[in-house]
């Protein structure tokens, strides 16, 4: 992978593909306001895949929405390539946790919506061809004319990915992409995602609560401290060779060490969570 090391960014050699500077965000009216995020610093190098690992309800989705430009931060700024980020748009493709497929459209229709939006200049046939190509990439050509309710969780997920890829984004933002998928489908989809990311050289931010998923996919794992006022902690570099195979990883001492380190670290974070009277 053509990943840029953070040192290069810091030295100013290349600007971060996406960055957050001192971002804070809260919800609710004055007085009963809950501060979800506070003082968030984040940098995504071009071509890098970063996993943000956090508990549910700790502000992961808020963080991703801010990265996508769907939610304005209360304080701080979002930067793309060193300049203030434009409003949400196709250059930042989002795969939503709920998939957000339109239930009244078929698989092809859902993907076509994105293709039509990004390529208004192409003819009908060319756009249709592009749609078919994308559906094929995620292996759903047999379900082309099916509607979301006829698909399994894993298949819906693939449609959502195909739609995100249709935007031809430089940055892919994934919100718990495999959260709603059962365990087995998850592992096969994770492997597929891993291959897809490796091939496409996109910069990826992946928000997840699954340590294994993070290790399998990411170059770097950043834990999100439990909210309120969640913030990003020190990151763990995942220096495991690719392609990463689940079974094979299981025997890799480096994998075991990293997995144990991250797991223990997260459980320590949770034990320090405020308002939790344990024991």
């Amino acid at each position: 992978m053509t990943s840029v090391r953070p040192e290069e960014i810091r030295s100013g050699a290349r600007p971060a593909a996406l960055a957050l500077r001192g971002v804070a965000k809260g919800f609710g009216p004055r007085g009963r306001r809950s501060e979800v995020l506070a003082g968030v610093e984040f940098e995504l190098a071009p071509g890098e895949c970063v996993a943000v690992l956090g508990f549910s309800g700790s502000g992961k989705t808020t963080l991703l929405s801010i990265l996508a430009g769907l939610l304005p931060p209360d304080a701080g700024s979002v930067e793309m390539d060193g300049a203030p980020a434009p409003p949400a748009g196709p250059e930042r493709g989002v795969v939503f946790q709920s998939y957000a497929l339109l239930p009244w459209l078929t698989v092809a229709g859902n993907v076509q919506l994105a293709v039509d939006a990004v390529h208004p200049e192409l003819g009908r046939r060319a756009r249709r061809a592009r749609t078919l190509e994308l559906v094929r990439v995620v292996g759903l050509e047999a379900a082309l004319e099916k509607r979301p309710r006829e698909l399994s969780g894993g298949m819906r997920q693939r449609v959502a990915v195909a739609r995100a890829l249709a935007l031809e984004p430089r940055i892919l933002l994934l919100d718990e992409p495999l959260g709603a998928v059962d365990a087995l489908t998850r592992s096969s989809l994770q492997a597929e995602f891993a291959r897809l990311f490796e091939r496409s050289h996109k910069s990826v931010v992946l928000v997840t609560n699954d340590v294994d998923e993070a290790i399998l996919l990411a170059d770097r794992i950043v834990p999100l401290t439990p909210g309120p006022r969640a913030t990003l902690g020190a990151s763990f570099r995942v220096a495991l060779a690719r392609p990463r195979d689940r079974t094979w990883l299981n025997r890799d001492p480096a994998f075991k060490k990293l997995r144990n380190e991250i797991t223990t670290h997260l459980l320590e974070l949770s034990a320090r969570r405020p308002g939790r009277a344990r024991r």
């Binding site: 769907l70 196709p90 989002v94 957000a100 339109l102 459209l105 919506l113 309710r149 739609r163 935007l167």
Partner: protein, 307 residues
């Protein structure tokens, strides 16, 4: 074993209830004496219904005769080179004509209401400002009875609709507009609710795609709120049908309402039976309209959970 029990419940129970109703009705009818004779029982009502059908057939037959007679005369006149003016058959409307008029009126009113309510609802649902502006007016006018609207509508129609060769009867227009005014609200409120409750993730999809607003409304907002809109339309049609009968009675617009009113003015035991036929007809048509709307609603609804 289980199937038999289920069959008994789904078919047996309603049949039993119906039989009980008819029995109670017959028993009551035999005992109640009104100012215009005994309360008609089920048998008399059935007879009255047959009478209305027979009357309709006879009237149609007369109309057929009249047309053939006119045709003969017209040919004769043409052959003789005399001038000829077409004459309309001027028979009185039968019960079935009244039903047709009522249906035409209710659908016209319903159509007007839908054409106003759906776009307005979409506007209310997408713009909090529009919603804030219109909400007090909606809340104010929604509970107004059709009987209060009707005189205003009738006066306005007389004042503003002064064509010499009117396409519609004034009474028809008054009834239809009153129906529209009363059946507007369920569709308006439901559409606004449906649009306001579009999955925010779906709207985010639109933002990431940078869809222009009209594409967003057409591709995401409308399809997503369609089940809500249809629920509103169904309620509206139900309200419209209820309002119509009252409106027709007062506006003297031909239709089932006028039929009931005329029969009431007639005042004989037989007409009381005919009014009861009208009650059953009104109920039956209302039920059929509702089932039709439910079928439509099913056809457009999508599994919201499966997104």
């Amino acid at each position: 074993m289980l199937d038999v029990r289920q069959l008994l419940r789904t078919i047996g129970a309603p049949v039993m209830a119906l039989a009980l109703f008819v029995a109670l009705w017959s028993a009551a009818a035999a005992r109640i004496e009104t100012s215009i004779g005994a309360l008609p029982g089920p048998g008399q009502v059935l007879l009255a219904a047959r009478g209305l059908v027979a009357e309709h057939r006879a009237e149609r037959a007369r109309e057929g005769e009249f047309t053939t007679r006119m045709e003969v005369k017209r040919r004769a006149a043409l052959a003789a080179g005399e001038p000829w003016r077409d004459r309309q058959y001027a028979g009185k409307p039968t019960y079935f004509d009244q039903i047709a008029t009522s249906l035409a009126t209710v659908f016209t009113g319903f159509l007007i209401a839908s054409l106003v309510a759906v776009p307005l609802g979409v506007l209310c649902g997408t713009s909090p400002t529009v919603y804030a502006a219109l909400n007090p007016l909606i809340q104010l006018f929604r509970p107004v009875s059709p009987l209060a609207w009707l005189p205003i509508v009738m006066i306005l129609v007389s004042a503003l609709y002064t064509s010499t060769d009117p396409l519609f009867e004034k009474s028809f227009l008054s009834s239809a507009i009153t129906v529209a005014l009363c059946s507007l609200w369920p569709t308006l409120v439901n559409t606004a609710l449906g649009v306001a409750s579009v999955d925010p993730d779906h709207l985010n999809v639109a933002r990431v795609l940078r869809l222009p607003w009209y594409v967003r409304v057409r591709k995401i907002v409308i399809p997503s709120s369609l089940p809500w809109i249809f629920t509103g339309l169904r309620l509206s049609l139900g309200v419209g049908w209820m309002v119509l009968i009252a409106a027709e009675m007062l506006a003297q617009n031909p239709g089932l309402g006028k039929f009931v009113w005329d029969m009431f003015q007639n005042g004989s035991s037989e007409t009381l039976a005919q009014i009861m036929v009208a009650v059953f007809t009104i109920g039956g048509i209302g039920y059929a309209l509702d089932r039709g709307m439910i079928a439509l609603q099913r056809a457009v609804s999508h599994d919201v959970r499966a997104t």
